[in-house]
């Protein structure tokens, strides 16, 4: 109940951190087979290299496609490109054609020959290992297009300059023109005006803490089933107390368990993560809000577990349904896939997952730097969910003549 959730958070954050670093810090190995002998291909390779996303490995231009595939299977690299023999010629041809069109539209086209669009171009082939996820592939593809555009723009600029001035574009001007791009400043939106970018720990620790809390269903849900089947419920019903009191005391105990889980997991994030090379978890500034949200998340998890226990007939049913339902609710609640990439139906379904409201409240505190006033709507939603789950559990107990 305590060790496994802590391990889960540590492992998942570590793995996610690896992915973050692959995209943000590490370079993706790229094999380049350059069959072209012109200058455009060399410019292209230089552009790809300076982008910083890839670790470029040049391979012999005679290397056959099968051997390149084999290298990818052996995971020498995850991506490979083959620049065709006519790569430079194609770039030049396209630059000629575009320059011709442009000059003609400027009214300067009498002295230049307009080239027609070529249709039988040999494409640049991009090979990738199937382990690369769609998002990485798109990212790699986008970077290659960007490098290609850079080379083509440079060629186009040279052609235009030559056509107008009948001399080569000076290197200094070329560099000024090509490098003078609009800068992008990344600013994370936060309620406390912090400019610190959220780390993998800020994303993962709250999410998997909620997941761990909801796993009390295994112990609490099956415990209630055991009570029902063993006759302890019956015994308690014949005693001078109300079973509602018994259920409440059990809830308080398990709420305590979820709070201990939370404290331990957060402590791991704060003190152990830096020791294993993971970013330190920064706790929100508003500690009372953090405590309130944690208590409500824990109580929500406990209420859900009580419901599962009340309506399950066997311990196996409680465990099976409990665990699978938590995984499903975590998936649709945005713990596994960010909610902003969900499609319409799933975005609607997400609202029915208690885990979503827990995560939303935690993210407002951990990622947005929010305070209590910023999470009131989440707090209210969680209170309503808890009331609903408690009501359902009481109705179930009454219906089964257990209270």
């Amino acid at each position: 109940m305590f060790v496994m959730p802590m391990l889960l958070v540590l492992i998942v954050t570590g793995m996610q951190s690896g992915t973050f670093e692959l995209v943000n810090k590490n370079k993706l190995p790229l094999l380049v087979c350059n069959r072209d002998t012109g200058g455009a291909s060399l410019q292209f390779i230089r552009a790809v290299d300076t982008m910083g996303l890839f670790e470029v490995h040049l391979i012999p231009d005679t290397e056959r496609e099968e051997l390149i595939r084999e290298r990818l299977y052996r995971k020498e690299a995850l991506v490979a490109i083959i620049l065709p023999a006519d790569f430079s010629a194609q770039v030049n041809a396209r630059a000629d054609m575009l320059a011709g069109k442009a000059l003609k539209s400027f009214g300067l086209g009498d002295n230049v020959t307009e080239r027609t669009e070529t249709t039988n171009e040999t494409p640049l082939s991009l090979y990738y290992h199937p382990v690369i996820q769609e998002s990485f592939r798109r990212s790699a593809e986008g970077s290659l297009y960007s490098a290609l555009q850079l080379v083509e723009s440079r060629q186009l600029l040279k052609k235009l300059y030559f056509s107008i001035n009948e001399k080569e574009l000076p290197d200094t001007l070329e560099n000024v023109l090509m490098s003078n791009r609009q800068k992008i400043s990344e600013i994370p939106v936060s309620r406390n005006d912090s400019r610190k970018a959220p780390t993998v720990s800020q994303h993962n620790v709250p999410a998997w803490t909620i997941f761990a809390m909801f796993f009390v269903v295994v112990s609490l849900g099956s415990g209630i089933v055991r009570d029902k089947r063993s006759g302890s419920f019956i015994r308690l019903k014949t005693m001078p107390t109300s079973y509602v009191v018994a259920i409440l005391s059990r809830q308080i105990t398990y709420l305590g368990v979820t709070m201990i889980q939370t404290v331990l997991i957060f402590a791991i994030g704060v003190w152990v993560f830096p020791l294993v090379g993971l970013p330190r978890l920064d706790l929100p500034d508003d500690v009372p809000a953090l405590i309130l949200v944690s208590l409500l998340c824990g109580w929500c998890a406990v209420s859900y577990a009580i419901c599962v226990g009340v309506f399950s007939e066997t311990e196996e049913q409680a465990n099976g349904f409990g665990v699978i339902s938590i995984v499903i609710l975590a998936a649709i609640g945005g713990l596994m896939i960010p909610d902003f990439i969900m499609t319409g139906t799933f975005r609607t379904a997400m609202r029915f997952s208690p885990l979503h409201w827990c995560l939303d409240a935690y993210y407002a505190l951990f990622l947005e730097g929010g305070k209590l006033k910023d999470v009131w709507s989440n707090v209210l939603s969680l209170v309503l969910i808890i009331a609903g789950l408690q009501g359902i559990a009481l109705w179930g107990l009454k219906r089964k003549n257990l209270i």
Binding site: S230, G231, S232, I234, R235, L236, K237, T238, M239, P240, T241, A246, N401
Partner: protein, 268 residues
């Protein structure tokens, strides 16, 4: 009115020295399960304080249902059930302090020890820590569980679990004890110990309402019996006079004479 229960524990009903007789009075009750015909219709029964009362009948006669009605686990649709004069429906909490219930199932936490189980159920009975501690020692000694007081109950034999079940039911020194087959599945020694302890309890003033299929044990334990079948009382009187009246030497022969030899549980 004379108090038949000198065993009255101080911590439970300190200001009720003269509880009225009878221990249990069922008056004109009716009960039916959903979508089924009446199991009990205008049913009445009286158990005097201090009796060792046996409730018998074939399978499906309504014994367990009647036991559940008497302990408040089920609710009658009409009529009243009183324990020592207190109406069950109106004073459930107060009534619950007066009786103990030993269900046929092991109704305790197997993953806890006898001491922990007794502490838990003692607390729910409204006892204080010191009273629970004292009573736990006493019961574990009497029932031969002192040596295993801190062992998990799940490691126990069937007979030991039965004794734990019994100890929990009497932790708060109830004035009335309901026993649903308290010796089922135990060896001769455990059965003997349980029956002797129940007799001692009765001698100290606890009324017993007992149900079982072990008629030889019933003969040994009960002084009064009621035989019910299909929700009706067939006979209700002192065991000695009943046997004498029907000229039977044993309860089993009398049982067969009064209820017949046909199976009662041929359908589900």
């Amino acid at each position: 009115m004379e108090d038949m229960s000198p065993h009255q524990p101080d911590h439970i009903t300190p200001h009720q020295p003269d509880l009225p007789r009878p221990a249990m009075q069922i008056e004109d009750i009716s009960f039916r399960y959903p979508d089924q015909p009446d199991l009990f219709s205008h049913f009445s029964l009286r158990v005097e304080a201090g009796q060792r009362f046996g409730l018998f009948g074939p399978n499906g006669a309504g014994k367990t249902t009647l036991m559940n009605l008497m302990t408040g686990l089920l609710t009658t649709s009409s009529g009243t059930i009183r324990l020592f004069g207190h109406e069950m429906k109106k004073h459930q909490r107060r009534v619950n302090k007066l009786f103990g219930y030993i269900p046929q199932d092991f109704a305790f936490y197997q993953e806890l020890s006898p001491v922990e189980n007794l502490a838990f159920f003692g607390a729910w009975s409204g006892m204080t820590g010191a009273a629970i501690h004292k009573r736990t020692r006493e019961l574990l000694d009497i029932l031969g569980l002192a040596a295993v007081r801190h062992k998990k109950v799940q490691q126990f034999s069937g007979g030991m679990k039965r004794r734990v079940n019994l100890a929990i039911g009497v932790i708060h020194k109830p004035r009335l004890l309901f026993l649903d087959e308290p010796t089922v599945g135990v060896d001769v020694q455990t059965r003997h110990a349980i029956v002797n302890y129940l007799k001692e309890l009765n001698e100290s003033g606890t009324t017993l309402i007992y149900t079982s299929h072990q008629l030889s044990e019933a003969e040994e334990l009960c002084d009064t019996i009621a035989l019910i079948d299909e929700g009706r009382i067939i006979t209700h009187e002192a065991l000695d006079s009943l046997l004498l009246k029907h000229r039977h030497e044993g309860l089993e022969a009398l049982f067969l004479e009064l209820t017949g030899k046909n199976f009662r549980d041929q359908s589900v």
